[in-house]
């Protein structure tokens, strides 16, 4: 699946999605890979996963109360936020809260229904990585980040509100 990081297409995604059926109680957990687990898996096997060696990421549903994850954020290298549909904008708030409320500095990745016309808003809200469905990917979509160059408001991209310029 094409992946954008910092507004560029990257060739290689270091993150491996854990098999949904994976049984983390066994010794079969891959040790050194960057492992991305689902919220369910995280809840089931948090301690085992944390005891493992490699970097960890969690894919969260967009109705999650982030307080449930806050204490573990320092141990995570990636939080992926699911976008279940084009119309559902909860993920934008979650990303801002992760960055601005909880100070998360790892990768924040948009996953699910992620297409051209929301990339700029995602980037402004603190997503630095976006997974694009191969069927919807086109190299031209990178222009999404520069279509609008004026921002009235501050967000999580370090740009100050226009009234502070």
């Amino acid at each position: 699946m094409p992946l954008l990081i910092n507004q560029q297409l990257v060739e290689h995604d270091s993150w491996q999605r854990a098999d949904e059926a994976a049984d983390f109680s066994s010794a079969a957990i891959p040790a050194q890979v960057d492992l991305l687990v689902s919220w369910d898996q995280w809840q089931r096997a948090r301690d085992v996963l944390l005891a493992r060696g490699g970097r960890l990421g969690v894919l969260i549903p967009n109705d999650l109360d982030l307080a449930q994850l806050a204490g573990d954020l320092p141990r995570l290298a990636l939080v992926a936020i699911d976008f279940p549909s084009f119309a559902d904008g909860r993920g934008f708030s979650l990303a801002r809260l992760l960055r601005q409320r909880y100070g998360f500095t790892g990768q924040v990745r948009a996953s699910g229904d992620v297409t051209w016309d929301r990339l700029r808003f995602m980037q402004r809200c603190g997503f630095d990585a976006m997974e694009i469905d191969a069927k919807r990917f086109t190299p031209a979509m990178l222009q999404a980040f520069s279509e609008i160059s004026v921002s009235y408001q501050g967000a999580a991209d370090g740009i100050a509100p226009l009234y502070q310029h």
Partner: protein
């Protein structure tokens, strides 16, 4: 009025090109229908019964004559030589071609107009008092605050995909002419005990399927905290508002289900976390925006003019028009004039290109080049020198914009209904014409006095029927248009929701039913009592008995 900076201008021009690109990709089959639907709605474009409909924003109802001429030109070049002014002070074109919409928007961008967030599940254009700046009892001019909110909301990256549409209205007077209590957020400028100006904040008002009056969640908000407080409300709503059922997705449902107190607690907690951020408004920015709304150069000797009194005494029709269609101004010798866009038997809120150009010329000549739109679907010239009232009346009479019916049942609000709107269940424009025909005796209208009649063609309530003194809701009964009547609603400072009178009636019976309602009022009223006051005092029963008597 506010003038765009280079940055403001760049943003709307870039938005036009972005939309052109989105439309091009859609037409090339690269964006699915459902996705493009959301994108086009965020830019004011509906696909309607006959053609697309483009809604262009008139922020807080303020237009320059140049902008009005540009709207006239758009209606000539791309549409059928007219435009429809809406209940949220915006303007709609009913017949543009999809492919040409980007060109229309590019033309409008040249006069600092746009369609950003005039529709869709996002923060809509901000509305305000059409008498802002000219009424005596105002705390201060609300429009700079509406502009500050507009800028904050424009292309806000976090709130473009809300559960449902989100409407904000700002007022600063004891009289509410912007229906703030039935908005998602109502912002009232108020003074606290220390004499400081800040805001009272209402949340969770709305019409539609589940009409509700907003709840006050903050009595006084300091000025510099306006945007952080709005952002806190929007964030709570974005995260917690229902998305499983579009009829339960407005913020009013969230406020009602949590309870206003619990909702406020969530907002206040969120606000405490972001209050001391870059959302705090710098005084320099407040001053900058206020600087765009100076008082016009009024003639200090205006009241010394004697021609006005002479004309008033000499011409009854002029005096009647002054009485019905104009109101006092804070400056002696000036009046604010309503242009009634309720021409006889024409669709309420519609103006032709010729009328728009003529109104723009009159605005240049008599009103400092300014035109305002109202949520009653009229226009206002807010600064008319008393010596100019007579020639202005003559000119407006020629244009069909001086019918002295403002505030009467002939000054009704009406949505486009089944003739144009794909959501409508029933016809409205034909009924409006029948009502006008039936009640065209001006002396009778004046005797009835102030009555707000509001008619919507479906439960979405674009014409605010729930808050009409008399509300008419069109419903579909086996393919025929029927009408349900409500009485006792108000969108003003005494906001209330109308109550249903009884079972819906066929179209042909509407004028007769109205006549019975009005006759009951005349019978029941005490000296000097307005229609709404009588309804509140005597209740619905006397009206019900009269209207449904023949059915027994």
């Amino acid at each position: 009025m506010y003038q765009y900076t280079e940055q403001d201008q760049k943003l709307i021009e870039q938005r036009v090109e972005q939309f052109r690109d989105q439309t091009g990709r859609f037409l090339a089959g690269e964006i699915p229908d459902e996705e493009y639907r959301i994108l086009r709605l965020q830019n004011g474009l509906y696909i309607q019964r006959h053609a697309p409909m483009l809604r262009v924003g008139i922020n807080y109802g303020l237009l320059s004559s140049t902008q009005l001429r540009a709207l006239a030109e758009v209606s000539r070049k791309y549409d059928k030589n007219y435009a429809h002014f809406t209940t949220r002070q915006n303007v709609q074109f009913n017949w543009p071609a999809l492919e040409q919409v980007p060109d229309i928007l590019a033309d409008l961008a040249k006069v600092q107009m746009h369609a950003i967030q005039t529709s869709g599940s996002c923060i809509r254009s901000v509305s305000s008092d059409h008498l802002a700046g000219v009424v005596a009892d105002e705390v201060e001019d609300p429009r700079p605050w509406a502009e500050i909110i507009r800028q904050w909301a424009a292309l806000h990256p976090e709130f473009a995909y809300l559960p449902r549409k989100f409407k904000i209205a700002v007022t600063a007077s004891g009289q509410d002419r912007a229906a703030t209590q039935v908005h998602d957020i109502g912002v009232h400028l108020v003074k606290n005990a220390a004499g400081e100006v800040g805001f009272e904040i209402l949340v969770g008002g709305g019409l539609g399927r589940t009409p509700m009056i907003g709840s006050r969640i903050r009595a006084f908000l300091p000025q510099q905290d306006l945007l952080s407080y709005l952002e806190a409300i929007l964030r709570v709503y974005n995260l917690l508002g229902r998305r499983d059922n579009k009829y339960k997705a407005r913020i009013k449902i969230l406020v009602a289900s949590l309870g206003a107190d619990a909702f406020r607690d969530k907002v206040e907690a969120e606000w405490q976390a972001i209050r001391d951020s870059d959302l705090r408004l710098p005084q320099a920015e407040i001053d900058r925006v206020k600087g765009f709304f100076p008082q016009p150069a009024y003639d200090s000797a205006a009241a010394a003019d004697t021609s006005y009194a002479e004309k008033l005494a000499a011409e009854r029709d002029f005096a009647v028009w002054i009485e019905r269609n104009t109101v006092d101004h804070k400056i002696p010798g000036y009046r604010a004039v309503t242009l009634a866009i309720k021409d006889y038997l024409k669709a309420p809120g519609d103006l032709t290109d010729v009328q728009m150009d003529a109104v723009a010329d009159l605005a240049d000549r008599y009103n400092f080049g300014e035109v305002r739109t109202t949520h009653i679907q009229n226009m206002v010239f807010a600064h008319i020198h008393q010596a100019d009232l007579y020639p202005l009346w003559q000119a407006l009479t020629e244009l069909g914009l001086a019918r002295p019916v403002v505030g009467t049942i002939n000054d009704m609000i009406c949505c486009p209904g089944l003739d144009f709107c794909s959501l409508a269940n029933a016809e409205t424009l034909g009924v409006a014409a029948k009502v006008q025909e039936h009640f065209n005796d001006l002396d009778y209208l004046y005797d009835l006095g102030d009555i707000e009649l509001k008619m919507s063609g479906c439960i979405n309530a674009c014409a605010h029927h729930h808050v009409g003194h008399i509300g008419i809701l069109g419903v579909d009964k086996k393919g025929e248009s029927y009408y349900q009547l409500t009485l006792g609603g108000s969108a003003a400072e005494d906001a209330s929701l109308g109550k249903v009178l009884g079972k819906s009636i066929p179209q042909a019976d509407v004028p007769a039913a109205l006549e019975k309602i009005l006759a009951t009022y005349v019978e029941q009223r005490s000296e000097g009592e307005r229609f709404i006051e009588t309804v509140r005092r005597v209740g619905l029963d006397p009206f019900k008995e009269k209207v449904y008597a023949s059915a027994h």
